[in-house]
Amino acid sequence: MGTTTAIRTKTYVGERIRRKEDPRLITGTATYVDDIQMPGMHHASIVRSPHAAARIKGIDAKRALETPGVVAVFTGADVKEVGPVPCGASLPGLRVPQHSILARDRVYFVGHPVAVVVATDRYVARDAVDLVEVDYEPLPAVADPERALEPGAPAVHPEWPDNVAFTYHQEGGDVNKAFAGAEVVVKQRITSQRLIPTAMETRGVVADWRAGDKALTLYSSTQIPHLLRTLVAMMLGLAENRLRVVAPEVGGGFGSKLNVYAEEALMGFVAMRIGKPVKWIESRRENFAATIHGRGHVDYFELAANKDGTILGLKLKLIQDLGAYHQLLTPAIPTLSVLMIPGVYRFQNVFCDIVGVFTNCVPTDAYRGAGRPEATHGIERMVDILADELKIDAAEIRRKNFVRPDEFPFATATGLSYDSGNYAAPLDKALEIVDYNRLLEEQQQARKEGRLVGVGISTYGEICAFGPSPATPAGGWESGSVNIDPTGKVTVATGASPHGQGEETTFAQIAADELGIDIDDVVVVHGDTAIVSYGIGTFGSRATAVGGTAVYFALQELKKKIGTFGAMLLDSGDVSYRAGRCICNKTGKSVSLSEIAAASYRAMKLPPNTEPGLVSTCFWEPPNFTFPFGAHIAVTEIDRETGAVSVKRYVAVDDCGKIINPLLVDGQVHGGVVQGLGQALFEQAVYDETGQLVTGELMDYAVPKATMVPWIESSHTETPSPVNPLGVKGVGEAGTIGASPAIVNSVVDALSHLGVQHLDMPLTPERVWRTLQQHGGQA
């Protein structure tokens, strides 16, 4: 037996391993949807409504069809057999509008797809869009959710004049008793504005119909290739095994590609009709108008407490701007907010009402954090307002109310079981990093000098690793397959299709450690329904905690089989496996993984009751969610002249359970914080009263750029999750969830001595400057 392979003792998990994805990305050789070319490929461009609400009286495509190169125009009348755009969320009494892939007789928001032009050339298709004449009769529209609830407001859907899509109630404990016995009650209206996800790669689809095989392949920039396959197959009336979905390189999603869009089914329809491959690439303006938005909350909070700062109970009336339709998870997002409304605190009395409201706007849905940033922003603002009212230090009041380390697993008033935690640990660490007491002294000194300096704390908790299937709309498990080739090289296939998170690296780390082999001998594949048997996807900070665990369990099965083959080859009943070799514990003889793999496929001799080959698949069902947490501190200074906020320091201490790769975890924290900062300071999707999207392009919508972002000091505590054997919790959304309250608390703190108690996001210079004027704090 050969013993040439060196014993490998180092492990990869926990190390700053460079990403396997990066070489193709830094050389411009990665393949995104728009990089796909096919012989005979046609191009589609979409006619969209310029009105927020209108009746379609007629469509005349004659001039478009006369344009050389245009091969077809399809309208709502042509796609009647295509099923509706699906909503995967179900709530009692939910009103679900019929959502055709092209408008029938009415349009409901600016950007609503009305017709599709197909041409041999991309630019011909785009130009011919302007030649499709749609006769609209404009109707009154409503874009503001509170206005939509007023009597007499225009009805988005005529069949439901009150614009209410659903109401939802959640309570725990006895909130009336808590409020009756409280020494202090603070109230505040808090908004989480509409945001535009703005993945740098817009959506795009290539559809390839092979009539001879009756088979359709859809290349789509999606986070959920398998769910997309199931749902688009249903929409198109195709047998699911005749549809293959490929998510090639995906240029960011942030939730916006956790969806099934009209255009995805529409391109399948077009390809089947014209018998040629067809490509559609969304323009940035379409992306802003017709890809889901995020957030869109108006929240009325009441918090009851004792004078010592002990929180007793919370009431919330939550108004969710849904937009005109339900996309895949639209109505479910605010239910996540109420689930997480207690945050990291012990109080057991909660009373929440949600009103889901239709507006003449593009639908809202999951955007990085999806419901949890809204909850965290609300509770963390309310805790600061309470602290201000009671003149208690912001760190102190949090510590007083934290769930204590010995209370885990902790049952919340909203029915969750927090898995593990030590909430004071990241707070203490963050306070130490910023040197809190000195910072407060410096702030006092700055005030004496007339400068406006604020210190803001947020201690967030989030729900991640979606999730147990009974609590997740489409199943919450994930698949992992491990395939060892006859030569001993390893392929891991995951159903958690990533789009920038780096799972090709982290899952390879897990596999390399378990098999004791070099990480370069592991390849991770994903994003193709023809390669991965089934899967759910990457969203909700779930990929490593659920998908990584599935890979881990597949590896355990495989290791058993490796041991069985090893024992046979070594003719021993007492073997162990380490560092890529199976070793006889008596003789010390060993065989390498490559030798075992070769023997398993050659199958000259098989161990009893053992199949040839080394392949294992696990569909792992998580027993619970995971609950990461952390503490973020922002130090800000306001320019009195302009109202501009500058973030002087940003410290993030996150606990995402066990860390597989600190390099990637810190990257996720950076990115999350930047997006949270974007919401806190800059971003807002604005519809005017008539439902026109005023922020329709990057000129008008302020995505953070390099000059707008501070250095982020990232640190961690590690509290393993008991939910999975890796001990991981998830980190993709943490930064977004922690950041907005830290920054807003900081800015309000900077103004608190002037009597400012609250400011709604975004804290633009104008908003802050006006506040300063109103509170006599002008320069």
Partner: protein
């Protein structure tokens, strides 16, 4: 409309025949099969399409092919020299200054142009130099690190 019959891209002349008014981005991607430069907005607002023209960063989505005929164009595909990555590409690897990677080619080209102009830029100069490029994954802190690292490695002297 006049035609453009030749473009000098990544060190060599490419014969083609395109409308001079077409965007350089679409010519690179669709005629020359250089898909490294990306469409992000088509309006010069995001920087995903950044390439170098005579060593200066330009937005290829709002640059007409006719405006760059006869000039030296460098795309992300042409940054590697003799099988060696540009120091800024190496620095992006070392700092993991990317996530989804879509803005990365444009970001690297903007950084390479900055280093040509300022071989040893200050942090403020780096931040200002990259301010036309959006990274929605929010990797700015590491991109700044990467440019500093590349500057130390002599990235400003690299040919393009």
């Amino acid at each position: 409309m006049p035609r453009v019959k030749s473009l000098h891209v990544n060190g060599r002349a490419h014969r083609l025949d395109v409308d001079a008014g077409r965007s350089l981005l679409s010519v690179l991607r669709e005629e020359l099969e250089l898909t490294g430069a990306k469409y992000g907005c088509g309006e010069g607002q995001c920087g995903a399409c950044t390439v170098l023209v005579d060593g200066v960063a330009v937005r290829s989505c709002v640059t007409h092919a006719g405006a760059v005929a006869g000039k030296r164009i460098t795309t992300i595909e042409g940054l590697e020299q003799n099988g060696r990555l540009h120091p800024l590409q190496e620095a992006f690897l070392a700092t993991d200054a990317l996530q989804c990677g879509y803005c990365t080619p444009g970001m690297i080209m903007a950084g390479a142009a900055l280093l040509r102009k300022k071989p040893d830029p200050s942090e403020a100069e780096i931040v200002a130099g990259l301010n036309g490029n959006i990274c929605r994954c929010g990797t700015y802190p590491r991109i700044v690190q990467a440019v500093r690292l590349a500057a130390k490695a002599g990235g400003g002297r690299a040919r393009d």
